[in-house]
Structures are given as C-alpha cells and as structure tokens.
C-alpha cells in the first residue's frame, strides 16, 4: 500500500512537471508579445527596463523557464501582469467560488446520475431507457454557451426569476441573506454544468451496468434465489461503479480548473472566468498558475479515484 502510494505520487509529480513545462511554452508560443501590452511607450527607458527586469522578461526563454520551474517548486507562481498581485493570491480568491460550484454540481450529478443510469440499465430497451438515451445524447452534445444563453434568456430575462450573472448582488448582503443570494446566483451555472456532466455519468453507469448484468456471476446470484433488487445492489453495483468512479474523478479534477465557458457566460467569479480574463489581457503568470492548479487537481483526483477503485475491487493489488 505505502509502496503503491509512493510510486503513484512520483508518477503524479512527473505528470505535473511535464504539464507545467507544456503550459510554459504554449503560452509563449502565442502570437502576441506581453511586453508591448505591459510597457507603456510613454514610460522612460529606465522604467521600461526596470519593469522588464521585475517580471523577468529581459532574460532568454531558456533562463525564464529555469526560473519559472524553480519558483513554481518553491510555491511562487509569479506576479500578475495586470493587478501586480501574487498569482497564488489571485487564484486563491477565485478558487472558493469554483469549488462551491463544483461541490453543488458533483453532488447533484452523482446522486441523480448513478440511480438513473442503474434504472435505465435494469429496464434496458424499455421506454424509460430509450427516453434516457435521448437525453444522454442531448446532454453530451449540447453546446454549453448556447444552453447558458437559453437559460439566461428564459429564466433571467423572460421570467425574471433568477439573476443574470455574478455570484452575488453587490454590495454583498450579510448573514443568511447573503447565502440565499449566492444560492440564487448559483442555480443557472450549476444547472448548465449539471446537464453536461450528468449525461456522462448516466452513460457510463448505464453501459457498465448493462455489461455487468450479463456476467455469469449475476446468473449465479439469481440461481441462489435472490431477487433482482438484491442482486443489483449486492452483486452488480460495486462492479458497475468502477468505470463511473474513474470518470467522476477526472470530471471533478478538471472542474477545479473552472468551467471556462459556463463561468464566463454567467460572470461567475471562479477560476474558469479567471482563465478567460487572463487570456484576453495576456496575463501570462495568472494563466500559468491556473493551468498548473488544474493539472495538480486532475492528477490528485485521479489518485483518489484509483484508491477508491482499488478499495472496491480486491483484484487490484496495491502492493504489487
């Protein structure tokens, strides 16, 4: 177990290192030059030089990369070009909002998606299953900004039931009113993200449940005299959930990086929105920071998902 964890963590560190490297170079491959954005031509050459030095832009790309890796390892993600705040501070301000959205969406997705997937599998090819299949295709293929605009138009503009954007009505209210206000603002972005994600979860749960129900050991369980409800719960569920958990792990991990499109359309002040803003303003350090956060969370969630799967399936030997 300890051995497995150590190897898994080493692999994770390598993955994060590689993604950090890719992020660094990809951003610098963008056709725009941050220097021209950063430096005001009206500034004196000494000031310009000082600024370039402050952000390390006067050095060669290779040297910048070495400094970047060094700094990242020591937990310093640099300073935002735009706000001149440390990147970690900027991300930490946005992360709670994204985590809030993530928590709502993941809870809803798993609590609703898994039972629906199981039920569709149990009644496969029935009317309910066919209906769910149509919904899955729609949920997976729908274009998120379109869905967001449709929701905004209908709920916010037409029915005037829900706010059009943001996470709260400024100035923030106090106490319970504030929570209620945030909840109202969270409904539409959560719903939008829920629709895309729940379709994936239902799809995986349903398909793996159908496969598991065809297994010989399911027939064995029936041959002992147990009814369908028991057989599904005791014999099929654990096996069927294994792919779902892996997918959910990746889903949660990638959602820490924020849902760029959803957060942008709804003006939700999370990491996704931050990524969008940083791209528009060429704020390289923030963009790097956000992507590294994303990479770390995906890798960590993957490890957690693997551990859960290993706990469910005794055939996976952690020691070996």
């Amino acid at each position: 177990m300890a051995n497995y964890l150590i190897r898994r963590i080493l692999k994770a560190l390598l993955t994060i290192f590689v993604s950090a490297t890719i992020v660094f170079f990809i951003i610098r491959l963008m056709p725009a030059d941050p220097v021209t954005l950063l430096v005001d031509p009206k500034m004196g050459p000494e000031v310009q030089q000082a600024m370039m030095q402050q952000f390390g832009l006067d050095k060669s790309i290779g040297l910048q990369y070495v400094i970047f890796i060094q700094q990242t390892l020591s937990g310093n993600l640099g300073i935002s070009f735009k706000t001149r705040e440390p990147v970690t501070t900027v991300i930490m301000q946005k992360l709670p909002w994204t985590l809030l959205l993530l928590f709502i969406v993941v809870t809803l997705t798993l609590v609703i998606g898994i039972p629906i997937g199981m039920l569709a599998a149990k009644k496969r090819d029935g009317l309910f299953d066919k209906f769910i299949n149509v919904l899955i295709v729609m949920g997976i293929s729908i274009f998120i900004p379109f869905l967001s605009f449709a929701f905004l138009y209908f709920f916010a503009y037409y029915l005037k039931l829900l706010p059009t954007g943001g996470a709260y009505t400024p100035p923030p209210a106090k106490g319970f009113d504030y929570i209620l206000d945030v909840a109202r603002h969270a409904i539409l972005p959560s719903l939008t993200l829920f629709i895309g994600n729940v379709a994936t979860i239902i799809l995986y749960t349903r398909n793996s449940m159908i496969d598991v129900l065809k297994e010989d050991y399911i027939r064995t369980a029936f041959s002992k005299g147990w009814n369908e409800k028991y057989v599904v719960r005791r014999h099929a569920l654990k096996n069927a959930l294994i792919p779902t958990i892996t997918v959910a792990g990746i889903m949660i991990g990638s959602m820490v990086g924020g849902a760029v499109m959803t957060e942008t359309v709804y003006g939700w002040p999370g990491v996704g929105r931050l990524i969008y803003d940083s791209v528009s303003s060429m704020d390289f350090p923030v963009l790097q920071g956000a992507f590294i956060t994303l990479a770390v969370s995906v890798v960590v969630m993957n490890i957690i998902a693997d551990l859960v799967v290993a706990w469910l399936d005794p055939r996976i030997k952690l020691g070996g």
């Binding site: 297994e215 010989d216 050991y217 027939r219 064995t220 369980a221 029936f222 041959s223 002992k224 005299g225 147990w226 009814n227 005791r234 014999h235 654990k238 096996n239 469910l312 399936d313 005794p314 055939r315």
Partner: protein, 324 residues
C-alpha cells in the same frame, strides 16, 4: 420410484432482432426420478444448457417458451410466480455452472457468496451459524484450511478450487435436485477427477441432472442418460441400455467417438458435419443430413418416439427390436 422432475413436451425458442422466434427445444420429454443421476449428453449447441436454465427459469431475455410443462414435485414450474421461483432456486433446485472462472463475483469474498444462500433460505440461522455451516461445507468439498479461505476472493482460488466453491454453494441447502452444467469442462483432467469424486459423494443426497458432452463422466456418475440433438431428445434410457445398446444413429456415433485403450493410433470416428443453427433446422428429423442411415422420410416428417423397453425410448424412423 416417484418422479422428481418431469419435462413434458417442453418447447422453447429464441427471438431474433426482428422478433421472429426460432424454435430450439422441441417437445423435450424426460423424467428425473428421485435419488437418481441423469446425464444429458450431446454436442455443443444441442440445447443442453438451455434445458438446464429452463428448470431454473433463468433463461436469457430473448428466450420464448412455446409450450409444454416442467413439473417439479407435481407442480408446473412454468406457472410459478417469480417469488415462488426464488424460494425454489438455491433451496430445492440448485445449479453448478460451467465456468468457475466467471461464475463467482470477483468483488465479494467466498464466505459471503456461499453464506448468501443460507441467508436467503434459512432465516432461522444467525451470522455465526452461517459462518460455521459455510466452513463445514468448504471442508466437505475438500478446500484446505477453510476458516482462512472464507475471507478470500475468487481470484485467490485456482479453477478447480473455484469449482469446489461453486459445488459448496450449490449443495449447502441440500437441494433435492442438483443441476450441473458441464461442471468439469473448464478444468484439467486430474482436477476433473477430484471434482467428479466430490459430486459422486454429494449426489447420494438428492437427484442430479448432469449436463456434459463427456460420456466418460456419464458412465462414472449417472443412472440414466438422455441424448439430445439440436433441441430434441433423440434417445433416452438407463445407463446400461444406452451404453450397451445404443439405437439412434447419433448415439451410436457418440459412442464410436470415445477413444478406448485398444483403439490404437488410427483416426478416431467422428460424426460428419456440425449441429445446425436453430434457424436452419429441417422439418423432419433434425439429425437427417448428418445421418448415415438417412432415407427420404427423415427429411420430411418428425420421427415418432418409440419405446424399446420400460425405460428405453428412441426417436427415429429406423426399426428397432423391442427388448424387455
């Protein structure tokens, strides 16, 4: 002797994707008497396994029952509700499956999987009693240090050991009828012998319906034999009758295909051709196009079932001598 299980003109088929039903089992009729072991033999694809699963009512969804009765202790199993079937499965009729590698749930331990049978059918037993019963049962089927094995998972068992676990599972409620669907096919020869030995010991407690294509296994264990071909019972009788006086050309072919010590190095007899698919059955005798004694009538009309002795029946157009 009282009859435990009676197949009466049982017919069933499978629905294809277009909804057309292709008949597989056609008028299957045979009995299993109390305390006797019946071997059901035939090539792969003859409907042996489907016959088994019909008794348990565990047929796949695409199966359609077309007629007849399966009578267990005087009651038609096909008329039972799902709830009533659940009480019969595992307790009165239990089954050992062909594939020990896939028939056990990989994520549940052995103790749980065997104990489950008692949990369902013996509500009077508590956890401790169930655990003891399972340990005893594992010991009975020859699993060393059963106490330790209870908490282990199927992947920690070899094929032979898993089949023993399956046998322990099927026999723990001492069923009146034990159905074994090719229980030794997936095992190597030495393990086969051990497993057969266990089954031989356990069969004394009730009736056994043994499906196999291995006539050697039948000779070792069974009292009666039912020979099936393409979903029909072509010949049935006591073990001696079938082995000493096989009448149906198919049975004769099967017997001729058994290697003996004296058969030397010449090529072993084999019946030409293969079992047809259920959508290609001929209107008459289903064995007609592989039969060496085939004549015109065979292709057009289903042959009559003729009684050769009190227990020996054959379904064929050929003339046989009636023996008493």
């Amino acid at each position: 002797m009282p009859k435990l299980l009676e197949f009466r003109n049982f017919s069933m088929g499978f629905k294809d994707d277009d909804g057309t039903v292709h008949n597989l089992l056609n008028n299957v009729t045979f009995d299993i008497e109390e305390g006797r072991a019946v071997g059901i033999v035939g090539e792969s694809g003859c409907g042996k396994s489907v016959t088994n699963l019909s008794v348990m009512r565990l047929l796949p969804r695409s199966a359609v029952i077309q007629g007849g009765k399966i009578i267990y202790r005087g009651q038609n199993l096909l008329k039972k509700t799902d709830k009533e079937m659940e009480d019969i499965r595992g307790k009165d009729v239990a089954m050992i499956f062909q594939e020990p590698m896939t028939s056990l749930n990989p994520v549940l331990n052995i103790g749980f999987q065997i104990g489950e049978v008692l949990k369902k059918h013996r509500p009077d037993m508590n956890e401790e009693q169930i655990k003891n019963a399972v340990t005893n049962q594992l010991e009975l089927v020859g699993i060393p240090s059963p106490e330790k094995r209870l908490k282990q998972y199927p992947h920690q068992f070899s094929g032979g050991m898993r089949q023993r676990v399956m046998i322990a599972m099927a026999t723990i409620c001492q069923p009146d009828l034990l159905i074994a669907d090719e229980p030794t096919t997936a095992l190597d020869v030495t393990i086969q012998a051990q497993v057969l030995d266990i089954m031989n010991r356990l069969k004394d407690k009730g009736s056994l319906m043994l499906v196999t294509h291995n006539l050697g296994v039948v000779a070792e264990i069974c009292n009666d034999v039912v020979v099936m071909y393409a979903g029909t019972v072509v010949e049935k009788g006591s073990m001696d009758e079938i082995f000493d006086n096989p009448c149906h050309p198919y049975t004769k072919g099967l017997m001729a295909a058994i290697p003996t010590l004296s058969s030397g190095k010449e090529e072993l007899y084999s019946i030409p051709g293969t079992v047809p698919l259920s959508n290609k059955f001929s209107a008459g005798c289903r064995f007609a196009d592989r039969c060496s004694q085939y004549f015109d009538l065979c292709q057009d009309k289903v042959p009559p079932t003729r009684q050769l002795s009190a227990s020996h029946y054959v379904q064929c157009w050929l003339d046989f001598e009636r023996r008493e």
